[in-house]
């Protein structure tokens, strides 16, 4: 008897473990291996508690799912909350898929395993930066609608209710309603094949509703059927689930004996993971971007040093961090530098929204408020949902710096109506109302504002930097960005001109500038007297001699040079080449 009890409790423990372990693993994966994707997802949305703002969700299909998705995504601001939500959705979907499968198969434990696979695939979708909780919510609501429909006992009532559910369903969950129709269709085939006419009506409805409502929603045909899914791949969990159901119907095996389906769905999952694996490099890049946004620039430097990524965006944030700690020229070449694009991200139609979103950060660092504002506006409107708490914060800060208080207050009042940014906003409102509370960052940026006015093109960063340095010689960030810009573009003449014009020897000559100056002086065959004006350390001059010797011996081949020169400007000058795009 004791043995039996023990065995039952052991079985329960095993079952509970089997049930809990996947959730725990999912939670831990998103908490520790993929947190920054989730942080960014919150930053590229804005959920304002205001009637007018909430009504705007009616402007596109899947209003309810997107509303719920956006509401929940704001919790991604909190560490762990995103992982918890994804895990919760996993269990909800697992249960719902199981409930759906139960309609087609006789009850068996294997059903739980079959339901587990598409639920897990849905979880994996979240490692895509543009996969939103609105998609999860639409799957949940779609399945709930189906489960609710099946609970209606009278088939005739059901037939009349389903069309209404489809109509309301398109408003609530958009294209996901097709899955609901699919399930009712399969159910009809299985249970009441002679009532297929109803299913045909449902299919016609599904085809017609997006087409009829499209002129109101003003979206292309493909989007009308997919919304809120912006990518067909994201429907993979449902495709997998549908596959299992279809194969059972086709093979008329309405028992979980159709292990074939299970095997195929598991294969689909692994194929998906292999073809489209989690992008851990992007996670690293996003960690730099997010830590910068959180103001933890020391962490940006530490992370970047450990990553050693050959990535433009990673270098871009590393350079901002270096500039924060006034060590841009000292450490610039310790990191990958794809010419000047790691200083200022180019803005254009093909830049990609993540680059556009990030492009304001460097301008803000150097104190170029007009371009900060321009880039932030672009970042806001180009973010996937045209709403971004991160950009609204930046716009508020920028307007505070330039003294446009009314504009700053507009953004701050919006943020005041959010769940997690209202304290941030309130602090800034206090600053505006009591200027003595203004933060050092704002005050410093205000001291960087140019005193004179001139025009420049958006992409002409050099002119902008010169103006900033001229307006405030203490703007070391702008000076270093200017000189490093010349060096990374190998424009030594401009470097020398601006160095002589703006560099003050009240700081130690950075090694990078010294290395560049030595090339110029060498090319100009400068005299000792001329060289002495630049206070270049003799040890650096000796190294330059050694480098030129090695370079000559190696016949200009990089392979013949010592590793110790790999981070020198001499090496960059000789060997760095822009990749063909």
């Amino acid at each position: 008897m004791k043995i039996t009890t023990l065995s039952i409790s052991n079985n329960k423990a095993i079952s509970a473990s089997l049930f809990l372990v996947p959730g725990l693993l999912i939670f831990l994966f998103y908490l520790f291996a993929f947190p920054y994707h989730l942080f960014l997802k919150e930053q590229i949305r804005l959920f304002v508690f205001s009637p007018d703002y909430l009504l705007s969700y009616l402007n596109k299909p899947a209003s309810l799912a997107v509303f719920i998705g956006d509401f929940l995504t704001q919790f991604f601001y909190l560490k762990g909350a995103g992982s918890l939500l994804i895990t919760t959705f996993f269990y909800i979907h697992w249960w719902l898929f199981y409930k759906v499968l139960k309609e087609f198969f006789s009850k068996n434990y294997l059903l739980l395993v079959i339901a587990f696979v598409p639920a897990l695939i849905e979880v994996l979708m979240h490692y895509h930066i543009d996969y939103s909780l609105a998609n999860s919510a639409s799957i949940t609501i779609g399945c709930l609608l189906y489960v609710a429909t099946t609970s209606i006992k009278k088939e005739t009532i059901k037939h009349f209710i389903v069309p209404f559910i489809i109509i309301i369903g398109y408003w609530a969950i958009g294209g996901m309603v097709v899955f609901y129709i699919f399930l009712t269709l399969i159910r009809s085939i299985r249970i009441q094949p002679f009532k297929l006419i109803y299913s045909l009506i449902h299919i016609v409805l599904f085809i017609a509703i997006p087409l009829l409502t499209r002129p109101y929603y003003l979206i292309p045909i493909k989007e009308a059927y997919l919304y809120p899914f912006n990518n067909f791949t994201y429907a993979l969990p449902l495709i997998t689930l549908s596959f299992v159901i279809v194969t059972s119907v086709l093979t008329k095996k309405f028992t979980p004996g159709s292990r074939f389906s299970l095997v195929v769905s598991i294969l689909v999952m692994f194929t998906f993971i292999l073809v489209d694996p989690p992008n851990f490099n992007r996670e690293k890049v996003l960690s730099l971007s997010c830590e910068g946004y959180f103001g933890r620039w020391d962490k940006v430097l530490n992370l970047s040093s450990s990553y050693k990524l050959n990535n433009k965006l990673a270098s871009y944030y590393t350079n901002i961090a270096l500039s924060k700690y006034e060590s841009l020229p000292e450490k610039l070449l310790e990191f990958y530098q794809p010419f000047t694009e790691s200083l200022f991200l180019p803005l254009g139609r093909n830049s990609g929204w993540l680059n556009i979103l990030s492009s304001n950060d460097a301008y803000y660092q150097i104190g170029d408020m007009n371009l900060t504002q321009h880039s932030a506006h672009l970042g806001l409107i180009f973010s996937p949902y045209n709403r971004s708490s991160r950009m609204v914060k930046r716009l508020a800060e920028t307007n505070m710096v330039i003294g446009e208080e009314e504009a700053a207050m507009k953004y701050l009042h919006m943020l005041e109506k959010t769940l997690f940014h209202h304290k941030w906003a309130q602090k800034r409102i206090d600053m505006i109302q009591n200027p003595e509370l203004l933060s050092n960052d704002i005050l410093e940026k205000q001291s960087f504002l140019p005193q004179s006015d001139t025009l420049r093109k958006g992409e002409d960063n050099v002119t902008g930097l010169r103006l900033l340095v001229e307006s405030n010689p203490k703007n070391r960030s702008a000076l270093d960005y200017l000189l490093c810009h010349h060096l990374l573009s190998k424009n030594l003449n401009s470097f020398k001109t601006d160095f002589e014009k703006y560099f003050r020897f009240n700081r130690q000559l950075p090694r990078l500038y010294g290395e560049a100056l030595l090339i110029i002086l060498y090319q100009q065959k400068a005299t000792k007297e001329e060289i002495s004006k630049f206070f270049i350390q003799s040890s650096l001059m000796n190294e330059f001699i050694k480098y030129t010797d090695e370079y000559s011996l190696a016949n200009g081949q990089r392979t013949g040079l010592s590793n110790r020169f790999k981070n020198s400007y001499w090496f960059y000058y000789h060997f760095a080449q822009q990749r063909q795009k």
Binding site: L218, P220, N370, H374, L378, N386, K457, G458, G464
Partner: protein, 501 residues
């Protein structure tokens, strides 16, 4: 001094028609059912500080309710709209939100008269009243719709924007076109013939782009770049007959200011004005409007269709001498029968003489005035804080600033209602960054009333909107564009315009 305020009953109410009476009584009963009666602890000596500022404004007799709030912290607001014969009483926690039917009744019954507005607010447990103020209800009705583009103030944005139409009698807004329909497209320069929704022009830029021309609801997509002309069609203006459209051709560039109190500058390296003959699909060129030594821009036809107004400036080296570019208001005669121009260009207002520059000349439909924007230099007035509205009297050629409409911030694009009694203009006065539409009345004597911000159902609308209202234009009815047909036409070849020999 405590003043009792409660539900308003007026003995003269019996003089109203039975229908009005019933509506008002039922509304009063409904609205006042939950209203708190109170005694005022203190009456301020001033009128309230409102958002939007509707104090002393002149409004059309058919405008949507002017919901507002007081710029103070309060837990409740109580507002009584009072006239000789009737009143509306509302009490809300957040802002004064007037029910639409009683509001309409009130306005209709008080055309040419004024409404007294009594505002009280509750702070903690006490009520405070302000001095009452008036809103003037004009006899002149306003056109039914306002069309505008909503665009982020990012100057070069094309990710999300659209052209919308808003019913002025209520708060309903519909999209005419959103660029979500064609990915990567930009939509701009919507224009209507004398406010007619059946005749419309707009440009859709991008891979599947073209100039969409709606003539009597018949749609065509034009390909407007030719080898003989400078660019695609840009700034439009309809000929009143509907047979022609004036467009500019521009080589436009965008640059940024370094100074923080200015943001962006848009300028032309070259620009011309042409007229497009819609029936013949031909561009009509005129040497006087295509000079290499002059920038010509912003064309508009007089209501009789016989004069083309435009802005003209001597060319300068751009962008180096951008502040030297000063546009004057000019005109040239146009023969609508033959589609030919006169030979003489008249300068109606030489703004350059006073160091200023004219943009957006817009003749009133009755032909009495030309309204324009005046700035220090250039033609991109929307980003000029000094931009103000002016009127040119076409009989006397006298130019006057519209002081009642102007503010310390930008007033730029403007358009007339079909009866010339109202004009709408975009202004940045709220926060210096986002343009908002203001509507003002101009009476028969040329006197302009205090403008009012386009009313919204939720007064937080402007606070929460991250888009600017761009190119507000009155239209007399709703625009109906066949979206599938538009998509099909955009995917097609489009109709290539020709240049008349």
């Amino acid at each position: 001094m405590e003043t009792p305020i409660g539900i308003i009953c007026n003995s003269e109410i019996k003089t109203l028609e039975m229908k009005h009476l019933l509506i008002i009584i039922s509304t009063l009963v409904l609205l006042s059912a939950c209203n708190e009666t109170f005694k005022v602890k203190k009456t301020y000596s001033t009128v309230p500080d409102l958002f939007p500022d509707y104090i002393g404004v002149t409004i059309p007799c058919n405008i949507a309710p002017l919901n507002f709030k007081v710029n103070e912290d309060y837990s409740k607001i109580d507002v009584v709209l009072e006239t000789k014969n009737e009143s509306i009483h509302v009490q809300h926690n957040d802002f004064a939100n007037f029910p639409i039917d009683p509001w309409r009744e009130l306005l209709n019954a008080n055309k040419g008269d004024s409404i007294q507005v009594k505002v009280s607010i509750k702070k903690e447990n006490d009520w405070y009243a302000y001095q009452p103020f008036s809103i003037y209800v004009s006899d002149d009705a306003i056109d039914d719709y306002l069309a505008y583009r909503l665009i982020a103030p990012g100057y070069e944005v094309y990710s999300k924007m659209g052209i919308y139409q808003r019913s002025l009698q209520d708060f309903k807004q519909d999209a005419i076109y959103e660029n979500t329909l064609v990915q990567g497209s930009c939509v701009n320069c919507h224009s209507f013939r004398m406010g007619s929704a059946k005749d419309m022009s707009m440009h859709i830029r991008g891979k599947q782009g073209g100039t969409v021309l709606l003539t009597d609801n018949k749609m065509e997509v034009l390909k407007t770049k030719t080898v003989e002309t400078l660019s695609k069609f840009v700034y439009p203006y309809w000929h009143p007959s509907g047979n022609y459209m004036a467009y500019t051709l521009n080589d436009t560039h965008q640059v940024f200011h370094s100074s923080s109190n200015k943001r962006v500058e848009v300028f032309d390296n070259a620009s011309d004005v042409i007229v497009y003959d819609i029936a013949k699909n031909e561009i009509i060129k005129c040497d006087a409007l295509m000079s290499d030594s002059v920038f010509e821009t912003f064309p508009s036809f007089s209501p009789d269709g016989k004069t083309l107004y435009f802005c003209s400036a001597k060319t300068e080296i751009m962008p180096v001498e951008y502040t030297k570019v000063k546009y004057n208001l000019c005109s040239i005669s146009f023969d609508p029968q033959n589609g030919t121009f006169g030979t003489k260009v008249d300068t109606l207002f030489k703004a350059s003489n006073i160091g200023k520059s004219v943009t957006f000349p817009r003749p009133s439909p009755d032909g009495k005035y030309v309204m324009f924007t005046l700035v220090d230099y250039g033609n991109f007035s929307i980003w000029h804080k000094e931009a103000d509205l002016f009127l040119l009297d076409t009989e006397t050629n006298k130019v006057t600033a519209i002081d009642a409409a102007n503010s310390d911030d930008t007033e730029s694009y403007h358009s007339w209602s079909s009866d010339s009694r109202w004009f709408v203009f975009s202004s940045r006065r709220l926060n210096g960054l986002y343009t908002r539409p203001y509507i003002a009345h101009l009476n028969a004597d040329g006197i302009v009333g205090k403008p009012f911000l386009l009313p919204q159902k939720d007064i937080n609308h402007y606070d929460d909107l991250l888009f600017s209202y761009n190119i507000p234009e009155f239209i007399t009815e709703k625009v109906n564009i066949d979206i599938p047909k538009l998509e099909a036409q955009l995917k097609g070849e489009g109709k290539q315009v020709r240049v008349r020999n």
